[in-house]
Symmetry: C2
Subunit: 394 residues, 2 copies
């Protein structure tokens, strides 16, 4: 049993199917942040960096996240945003393969990963190239021109899931460095970064880890590499001796070198509190419950609402923790659903996304959501000009 509704502060009457975008508020996060503001920042002031453990927080929380993705202690650290962590991993990977010029990714990657690669390449000049192929074409596109393969495991639109172990092995057999973005994986599906052998993994913590809007990102570096990667973002808190204030950068041993600037203590405090729920549940149980909810949802929607076309893989083994349907009036339909308290979201041009988080959703919620979907699809509000005008305005 993995249901932990009492851990969250969910509004009455809401069925929240958007935890894949922003997880809900954990009650402990609210309390812990209030305490941190008053008892740490307020009372301890500058001393809080040591006395309240702020300075060690990025590594301490990193270890807590690491446990959820198969990362050994001391291989994961928190900070910055996922975009920045993608950049760090990518810049370090290119340094590891100086004779190669290609970054390989796929069109199902979240755009910011591609953008960060484009920005890096633009700055480096010198013949670097970002090669973007269809998700199903990645395996065949890995060759010995590729410096780094950079993929998001779970597609943000469809939930389609890459096989981390197989693709990592393919990358390695071609001599490429493997970078996994776990934005839609951490807290959603069992992940084993150490087992798959990838060099880098990155991810955010405001989705299935419920860290709050703008919660910091994480980066994992494979243990044997952590003392050797060259930090492109050479910030003082990644220095071997930050408080020596040397004029020259000398990277800290291990994962600490991936820290950059001053950590966001308030956000980290919210995240650290949110992560406590994982001490009481097992990721394989979470996965089983998530698959059961998703399969129920797919079965009921397809039986009762034939106008929606499944956009996610039907085989649950190839799907993360979300289910997407295509519908031409998907934007309007999602607005109507949200107005009824069923919160999913929409991705252009026609994707209605529904995330499943068994920590706070059970089968009754899923069935109730399908009732609302059936009603909304019967109402056909997109045929009503007044409704559509309102949608465009808001």
């Amino acid at each position: 049993m993995v249901l932990r509704k009492e851990f969250f502060d969910l509004p009455e009457g809401i069925i929240y199917l958007d935890g894949n975008s922003l997880g809900p508020l954990p009650k402990t996060a609210k309390d812990r942040v209030a305490d941190m503001m008053q008892d740490e920042w307020g009372a301890q002031l500058i001393k809080g960096w040591n006395s309240a453990g702020w300075m060690a927080q990025p590594s301490r929380v990193g270890n807590a996240v690491g446990r959820l993705i198969g990362a050994p202690p001391g291989t994961t650290v928190m900070g910055d945003t996922l975009s920045i962590k993608v950049y760090q991993a990518l810049a370090a990977a290119l340094k590891m393969r100086p004779d190669r010029k290609v970054i390989l990714s796929d069109s199902g990657n979240f755009p910011t990963d591609l953008y960060m690669a484009q920005g890096l390449i633009q700055m480096l000049g010198n013949g670097y190239d970002l090669r973007v192929v269809a998700p199903e074409a990645v395996a065949d596109a890995i060759d010995d021109s590729v410096a780094a393969v950079m993929l998001t495991q779970v597609d943000y639109r469809t939930g389609r899931m890459h096989d981390m172990k197989t693709l990592t092995e393919l990358a390695h057999s071609a001599g490429a460095v493997m970078i996994w973005d776990l934005a839609h994986s951490a807290g959603a599906v069992p992940v084993d970064v150490a087992g798959c052998g990838c060099e880098f993994a990155v991810g955010c913590t405001y989705k299935y880890l419920n860290g709050g809007p703008g919660a910091p990102a994480f980066i994992y570096v494979r243990q044997d590499l952590a003392d050797h990667v060259e930090p492109a973002l050479a910030g003082w808190l990644g220095h071997d001796a930050p408080f020596a204030f040397d004029l020259d950068y000398r990277p800290a041993p291990g994962i600490e070198r991936m820290r950059v600037g001053t950590p966001p203590v308030i956000q980290l405090t919210a995240l650290e509190a949110a992560l406590e729920v994982w001490e009481t549940v097992d990721m394989s149980d979470i996965r089983a419950a998530s698959v059961a909810l998703q399969d129920t949802f797919i079965r009921e929607v397809e039986a009762r609402v034939p106008d929606l076309t499944l956009a996610s893989p039907r085989n649950s083994a190839e799907r993360g923790s979300q289910v997407s349907f295509r519908f031409a009036h998907g934007y309007a339909a999602m607005q109507a659903l949200i107005a009824r308290g069923v919160i999913g979201d929409f991705r252009a041009p026609d994707i209605m996304r529904f995330g499943f988080t068994p920590l706070y959703l059970d089968e009754r919620d899923v069935l109730a959501a399908v009732d609302h979907i059936e009603t909304v699809m019967g109402d056909r509000l997109w045929d009503d000009p007044a409704f559509m005008t309102r949608q465009r305005v808001t």
Copy 2:
């Protein structure tokens, strides 16, 4: 009159002279964050990005910071850490001067600025060079090999202040781009970024702006350049149409392109609340009050504690909002002061730093602090082996 003690939640019996490192807790920040957690994240969930204004927060708060540094609306945006903002400015500056290879800085710059430059150079290869000279040698070192001059206005150890206008003019007359780090300036001294003509300014907000530990940084880009700078950190929230999810990066118009990833909403909420105090005070009054407090402090310390040697400029026009003294046993002396409730800090090898923030300090506080310093210096605890052992342990 600029004293706003009631705005802050300062512990009883503390004289806080370390606002140059971490500003104290504003009461409004505590309340606003609690409300944001419950009424926005908790109640509005994913909708908060629009309904609670989170998406516009980096620009809205950027404008509030901009007002304090002479930046017109729409030229300053919040996000990331100061280290990251330094990197963004520096990478953009190098792109603007592709024929030049030198970054000029000084040894009084905060190390992370130098480290970020070193990391960037290391990645770029290609003959780039960071030239670090003594602060007083900067003017003479600006020549037409310099692509970018990167300086922190106020020295973090001594409070020595560069003349922004003069040095910016020198940089420009040599054809170099000027980047100012305002970490110890924003909220401390009157700054006029637009008036001085610099291309970039960056800074943090947890010091004199009281945004809390890990509060986000800001970046200013001169208005005529904002549509032209090339973002090296090409994140999706700096994209022209983030929610179109295009595969190709296309920078947003203006300052928005300096945004990178998802903004840290909780930290920004604390900061936004903290900034309200500036609506009720004038920066020139703050400056006058700060100088008066500092001059009193210097006069009293020198009269009563001759063992301390002034490390800061004696001329207040050349000094930021802190006063530093050198003392061989400075670390132990500062620990003894902190134990008495007078909180300053120490920077190796021998600098005792005292920050002056007239928002919550008045002349009585300063005189009381000097009483404690006189007592501590008379006690000479550093001659007591037991005390010194305790210091090493904690």
